[in-house]
Structures are given as structure tokens and as C-alpha cells.
Homo-oligomer: 350 residues x 2
């Protein structure tokens, strides 16, 4: 993970730059960075040295239901313990980056709403900057993952890196000319909400026929549960019953391996829809590298990714066919933390 | 049209910067700019002073069928005559910008293919730089129009300006953080080729079910011609017959005014599709200003734009509803020439 190029600041060992608003200048060569991936169920926090080697890491349950105050305290104490574990003085913190579920106010560093956590209007940047006396940047969790892949993983060197993470929903993010692509205040790349079926099924966003309604793991799990109920997926019925909450990516892979052919067909259908929507995105954005990640991709690295690739190639404009590479994500669970930390260093140093 | 802010170079009346590769330094205050909109049927060339006031203009037929050499000579002589008309010495040319039909190699300044003109591999940048001894930039014709609207028209001040121009096809372009958004080598934003109908009609790009197959003026004219043939559009039948080549934007407006209700319905259907595809684009790109332009928009400023707006609002994610403005283009036919010239100045001065 040592392939993040050193910045000008890193090289200036004689000089020094200011990290926080009101603290002593910090020797750039001493700086460490915290990357924090704030998920709906888990938080993943990693402490990096200036070369982005890992100094310490902690995973915890998020427990959003305990409320904002308890949640923010868990974030604070997790960072505290990271520093203890790495034996690092607070004063060496170059910055903290947090990948958050959206919608966010990126400039103010506020989580406007995180429905999965039941949180609203959390001034995360302000709170953490006060607590740790260092710069804090928040970004969308998917953007953090895509930026991580762009700096350290599958999308290094891309002019335009488009990342798609099919899971319970379908997340998207983009790095363009070295920076996270964003809206005026908030993040974007909501590829899961491209309309693909006219007057289709109701989506979590409140609209109908979005890509998520036909291609997210949740949508596919529901199709699989129906097949199990009809007796067409005996392995699923045995291990998961007809409760779609039990039909996770791993279960799906096992069922395909065990010969539940209808499960394979359902997964291929989902991949076809994703490839079609992705073709529209490629026609608009002309990414040179497309990164596919998330649970489904990890569980079905060949079947699912191949089907997406085939459908994308079938629907994309012929003149774009040779202009992109479709790759699987490389960094797994650490992409978000690495990306959030590296993005913060970028924002601090630029 | 004088609202282009002066650049640093404009203010440096004492100093001088280099315009061409091998000519005398040019006083920035003296610089003039040529914007050239190279269309499939017409070319529009405008000469601007440093404040982007018009000094001279010329329109000509493109006559692409006469071949590349003749076409390039028409471009050259048109610029020559512009300079004569404006009584401007060649040495004062700050740069020439040409908005071209795609696909292009933006860095090398090559028209790779222009099917409408029958041209291939035209080294336009190299040829014009040699001829006029000044910097030349080419860009996609739609991008030029969107950049024009961003600098002088409906999208001034946008962080992300998305432009959509429904016509024979459906062109798209985007200006992001002050720059034309592009792929690694070529332009993008091919919103006309977002797949919207699974296994739909054959598209000019070689795929099926693209937005253009259901929402371009060509697609809608074909529906209208069918209605005329069936006797449902008497005004159309009278003035245009059933030849879709005769059913232009103006004809469509006249037919609606004359009471051909089915024509209105067909136009509204096309606008609905466009709004739906646009919703996907907005969910991905979070533009703060969306500019609609082109013949259909000019012919049906209220009916068509309102229907697009309604459909967009119906399909876009609810959290994006208040984040964009949908506006009609302001600059008309000059958008491309102004944008190409201003983009060239931007590229020269940055």
C-alpha cells in the first residue's frame, strides 16, 4: 500500500505546514492520517503513516439506533484507541477522513440524513475538528471507496474512474482528473436510481423502476425467495427458507454451486440490467476504468462480472467499446477507509 | 455579450504573451478570437474582440460532400474573409476554436470521423495552426454550445452545467467546474444513446432502444408521418405529406397550432422519454443548471420544455428535486461559435 506518491509537503522535511487551525506547525514527514468508514452496521477505522502503510486498525458495530450522541462518541473513542494502539501522539494527526452514508453537505461536513442510522444533521466535521484539533473531511462512503481504488487499487492512473458497488442498494462514485466528482453541495453518481423500467416497481428512493428495483441484491434476493417458495430453488429453501433477509451474497453463491439453476438465471438477469444501465453511464462519462465491487462481485467474481461485461458491451455505443477497462475492486473492506484518508490528505495539501 | 471576465492576460497591457509557436509576442489587449461552428449543413464563423463583442460574422453551407480538401479550404477562406471584413491583421489572432461533429481526438485536434460530412481523419488543428500561425483548439460541437451558454448564456455561474439539444439526434455536453467534461481522448455526454427501451428499435449508433430512437426529432417525425398516413394529422398531410424529411420543428409547431392533436401527443411522449433519461443523468451528475436547446425547444418553448420538466421531476430522486434549474438556451445559433472561441481563449490562457 506504499504507492501513494509523496506530496511536496512530505518532501519538505526542513519546513513545516499547519495542520489544525490553532496548533503548532506540524512536520509533514511526521504526519499520520485516519480513514474512517462509517457504515450502516459496521465502522472500519484505520490509522496510516505518511506513506499510507497501516499503523493500526479497528472495526466496531455502528449501533446507529443508540442515537447521534452515542454514535459520535463511538467514533471519537475509536479514533482515540487507534492512536493509542499505534502509539501516536494526537499532535501528529495530519487529518481525519470519514466516508459517510449520504445525503451530506460536503463543504460544511454535515451528515444531513443517514436513514440507515436514524441520524439527522450531524456536524461531524466541526465536532471532530474540535476534538482532535486537525483538519477533518467527510465524503460519501462510495466515493471514498472509489477514490481508494483510484489511489491504491484497481483504478490507479485513470483519468475517469467510475465505481459501481451493487449490494443492498447500488452505489456509484466517480473520480475525474484526480478529484472526487461532486454536485454543488453534495455527492452524486446515484447510478442505482437511473430509471430503467417505465412505471416499474416502487424504489426505496420514492420513485419507480430505478435500477435498484431490478438489479440490487435486495431485488434479486426477493426473486430468489419467490423461486424458493415455488420449489425451484431447493438449496435456498433448505438453508435460508423464503426470508429474503437470509439470502446474502454467500448464500447465493452456495446455491448456484449446489445446482439451483434458477438462482443463476436470476443473477444473470440482474447483471444484464446493471450492464445496460452502465452502458448509459459509459456513453455519458467515457470512463477509462470501471471498477465493480461489493458483496455480489466478491461472491460471484466470474459469473456476475462476466455477465455485466457482456451486457455492457452489447449496449454501449460501438465507438466506446475499446475505450474502457472493466475491473473488479482490489481493496475489499479497506477501500473506504484508505480512500477517505487519502482524499483528506489531498484536500489538506492542495 | 460583454460579460466574459477579462483574464490576467487581458489586464497585462504592459507585458505580452506568446500566441503562436513561432511569431512575435502578442499584446493581450489586442487579441481577437475566431469561433467556428462546423455543422453538418452550415458553418457559422464569428470574429470576436477581447471582450467577446462581435467584429464580423459569416455563414456558409458546409458542402461536406465536396470532400475534405475543399471543405478545409472553405473553412480557411471563411476565416480569411472574417478577418478582412473586421479589418483585422492576422497577427492579432489570439486563437481559433472549432466546434466539430465527433468523434474527435481532442488533444491532437483531429476529426476522426464525421459521418454527416463524409470526412475522416482531418488534422484540422495542425492545418489551421500552420495556415494562421496561432493556437487552434477543436471541441465537440455540442460541448462548444454548452460552454457558450456557460460563459455567456443560460448557464452562467453553474458548477455543473448540463446541456441537452434534441434535434435530428439528441446531443449532450457538460461543463464541470469551469471546464468542458471529456473522456481520455474524446468528448462524451452521449445522452442520446442512453438505453431506454430494452431490445427497442435500431439506432443510428448500431445499438437498440437508445433515447434517440424514441425522442429525437427524427423519431418523432416518423411517428407524425405515420399519423399523417393514417389520416390523423390533416395539417401535416397537407403541408408535408408523409415524408418525414419534410416534418421539421417549425412544421410540427404549425400542425399543433392548427389543431393536429395527435402531433401534440407525440411531442409530449417524446418529451416524457427525454425527461426520464434526463432524470438518470441528473441522479448521476447533480447539475445545478440544465440547459435545453435546439430546434424543438425553440419551436415549442412552452409545451415541450414543460413536459420535459414534468417528466424529469417525476423520475428524478426526490432529494434532487430542488437542486437544479431547467432553462432554455439563450444564445441560439451563435452558442457554438461563441463557446468554441471562449474555450480556446481559456485553453490558451490557462
Amino acid at each position: 500500500m506504499a504507492d501513494l506518491p509523496l506530496t511536496e509537503a512530505d518532501r519538505l522535511t526542513d519546513s513545516a505546514i499547519s495542520g489544525g487551525a490553532d496548533r503548532k506547525p506540524l512536520d509533514p514527514a511526521d504526519r499520520v492520517w485516519v480513514g474512517f468508514d462509517l457504515g450502516g452496521t459496521k465502522m472500519n477505522a484505520v490509522l496510516f503513516d505518511r506513506k499510507f502503510e497501516t499503523l493500526a486498525r479497528r472495526k466496531k458495530k455502528t449501533r446507529g439506533a443508540e442515537g447521534v450522541a452515542a454514535g459520535v462518541e463511538r467514533i471519537r473513542s475509536t479514533i482515540e484507541k487507534l492512536l493509542e494502539e499505534g502509539n501516536i501522539d494526537r499532535g501528529r494527526l495530519g487529518g481525519i477522513g470519514v466516508g459517510c452514508p449520504g445525503p451530506l453537505d460536503l463543504d460544511e461536513g454535515v451528515i444531513l440524513a443517514a436513514p440507515n442510522l436514524g441520524w439527522k444533521d450531524v456536524q461531524l466535521k466541526k465536532i471532530l475538528e474540535k476534538e482532535f484539533n486537525c483538519p477533518v473531511w467527510i465524503c460519501n462512503d462510495v466515493d471514498a471507496g472509489v477514490y481508494g481504488e483510484f489511489r491504491f487499487g484497481a483504478a490507479v492512473g485513470a483519468r475517469t474512474a467510475l465505481g459501481i458497488f451493487p449490494g443492498t442498494g447500488i452505489g456509484g462514485g466517480m473520480v475525474y482528473e484526480g478529484k472526487i466528482f461532486r454536485g454543488r453541495k453534495s455527492s452524486c453518481l446515484e447510478i442505482g436510481h437511473i430509471p430503467v423500467v417505465i412505471d416499474g416497481a416502487v424504489c426505496g428512493c420514492g420513485r419507480r423502476g430505478c435500477l435498484e428495483t431490478v438489479a440490487s441484491r435486495l431485488a434479486l434476493s426477493a426473486e430468489i425467495a419467490k423461486a424458493a417458495y415455488r420449489g425451484q430453488a431447493p438449496h435456498i429453501l433448505r438453508v435460508a427458507g423464503t426470508d429474503l433477509a437470509n439470502i446474502r451474497s454467500g448464500t447465493i453463491r452456495e446455491a448456484i454451486d449446489a445446482g439451483d439453476d434458477v438462482v443463476e438465471e436470476i443473477m444473470r438477469d440482474g447483471a444484464k440490467y446493471l450492464g445496460m444501465a452502465l452502458a448509459g453511464a459509459v456513453n455519458m462519462l467515457a470512463p477509462d476504468i470501471i471498477v465493480l465491487g461489493g458483496g455480489l462481485v466478491e461472491a460471484l467474481p466470474k459469473l456476475y462480472v462476466d455477465e455485466v461485461a457482456k451486457s455492457l458491451a452489447k449496449h454501449v455505443m460501438p465507438s466506446y467499446l475499446k475505450t474502457y477497462e472493466l475491473k473488479s475492486a482490489k481493496l475489499g473492506d479497506d477501500a473506504g477507509a484508505m480512500g477517505a484518508a487519502a482524499w483528506t490528505r489531498y484536500c489538506v495539501d492542495v
